[in-house]
């Protein structure tokens, strides 16, 4: 099967195809002009979902059943009627939480034994499940109605949202959900019940006595090791954290150079000690440190980090990589990254050096291999 790289941008979805020669070629384009905020190729090799934000006209989901050659609109996550008596406010801003999908922020598959199951994370914080590859969606009410959700608040986005859904490769009923801002939530029964699981994370943006409050943590992105799922990495607003117990407890990684701030993280599928990040200046500045764009890689569980530079800009570059725009292909160990300035790079099979595929795409929100 041809390897593909799906690139969701502010102005459309772009598919790059890997030729036998080793060259990545721009193939199909879709939704040109429209923001594509999430993309998910399913394991069958044909089905692809794309989350769109039409701005004035709301969020929609499109599905292709032929690898991106044609698309059709399918179901979209819809929130239930908000009770008139509901007191549902963002505690950080004091504004009402709208019970309406504001952004399709993440799409994730349901595990090998559920090939048509899809999890969808949204802003303002609803998690939705589809059992039919996006035709229909159901709000996971056990999480939406959990009293702990009332503590969630918006961070960089005005409203809280779910950006990461990890399905344990050993048991697809075991889920880890990352919330900005609201910590990490764990379910062991396919979403029927939930428990806060951000213990050990630290939030320097809060008073010291509240810094370790799990409900207030801002994990930017979660990544789990495929073959050793007890190892989970988090790129957090306040740095990098590592879990050795399947996301129940977290350890801060110290002394990360050039910066421990960033958005994305991916983990080697076989070696849990190896993970990649894209650092930036903490925290509202959000540019590469000294204008030097690098990828950082640890191969010893976070004791040390190397900056990967080969194939990345040698001079000043001010690219920023959003949380869903750093991706890994688990079969080839290729790393892909796409930036807010429309640059796209793919690594060779070792994840050590990079090739630039384009410097002229629209701002990139999400990339994914299939």
């Amino acid at each position: 099967m041809t390897q593909r790289l799906w690139v969701g941008t502010r102005k459309g979805l772009f598919r790059f195809d890997l030729a036998d020669s080793g060259a990545w070629n721009l193939g199909r384009k879709a939704f040109v002009g429209d923001p594509v905020t999430a993309v998910l190729p399913l394991a069958d090799g044909r089905t692809v979902l794309a989350g769109l934000d039409h701005g004035h006209f709301g969020c929609k989901i499109q599905r292709s059943e032929d690898g991106g050659d044609s698309w059709a609109e399918v179901g979209v996550p819809v929130y239930p009627k908000k009770p008139e008596s509901s007191e549902d406010f963002d505690p950080g801003r004091g504004r009402p939480i709208p019970w309406s999908t504001k952004l399709i922020w993440s799409l994730d598959g349901g595990g090998g034994d559920h090939p048509r199951r899809v999890w969808c994370g949204t802003i303002p914080g609803g998690l939705f499940k589809s059992e039919d590859a996006g035709s229909t969606w159901e709000l996971v009410e056990s999480l939406w109605n959990n009293p702990g959700r009332k503590k969630w608040f918006g961070g960089g986005m005005d409203l809280p949202g779910i950006h990461s859904v990890l399905v344990d490769p050993r048991d697809s009923d075991v889920l880890l959900v990352g919330v900005s801002c609201g910590g990490v939530w764990r379910s062991e029964d396919s979403g029927a019940s939930w428990a806060q699981s951000a213990h050990g994370m630290r939030a320097d943006y809060l008073p010291k006595e509240q810094a370790f409050e799990p409900d207030s943590q801002d994990p930017h992105r979660l990544a789990q090791c495929r073959d050793h799922p007890d190892r989970v990495w988090t790129q957090h607003h306040n740095g990098i954290f590592r879990s050795d117990d399947s996301g129940r407890n977290w350890l801060a990684i110290e002394d990360v150079s050039p910066s421990d701030f960033g958005f994305g993280v991916v983990c080697h599928p076989r070696n849990p000690d190896t993970a990649w990040f894209v650092p930036a200046v903490k925290d509202e500045i959000r540019v590469p440190v000294d204008g030097r764009f690098v990828v950082t890689k640890t191969e010893d569980g976070g004791k040390s980090f190397r900056s990967l530079t080969q194939g990345l800009p040698s001079g000043e570059a001010w690219d920023l990589v959003f949380r869903h725009a750093l991706a890994l292909d688990e079969d080839s160990i290729r790393i892909g990254l796409g930036s807010t300035t429309g640059s796209l790079w793919v690594s060779g099979e070792s994840g050590e050096s990079f090739e630039q595929l384009s410097a002229h795409l629209p701002p990139i929100y999400v990339i994914r291999f299939s």
Partner: protein, 89 residues
């Protein structure tokens, strides 16, 4: 009978032809229209059934105030326009 017309920009995503329908309120008109064109509903209304934040509706040239219940009364030959607001998106 009221005439309802949509912004041309929405037609890129979903077909919203002009219709002339029997309705005494804007709510009745929208309900009748979306019964004929169900895909159009979620492009105009949010999950709670309110007018999307960055949409506006004009009835006989006046922008509506009731964006939730659409209680505006319609005349026998009212003209309704569903537009994008000059915000967001």
């Amino acid at each position: 009978m009221a005439r309802i017309e949509f912004t041309t920009n929405i037609q890129r995503h979903v077909e919203c032809p002009v219709e002339i329908l029997l309705a005494s309120t804007l709510d009745e008109l929208l309900t009748a229209y979306f019964a004929r064109h169900p895909r159009a509903r979620s492009y105009v209304l949010d999950d709670q059934g309110a007018l999307r934040h960055h949409m506006v509706i004009f009835v006989d040239g006046s922008m509506i105030d009731d964006r939730v219940h659409f209680s505006e009364a319609l005349m026998a030959e009212s003209e309704v326009h569903v537009f994008q607001a000059l915000s967001g998106g």
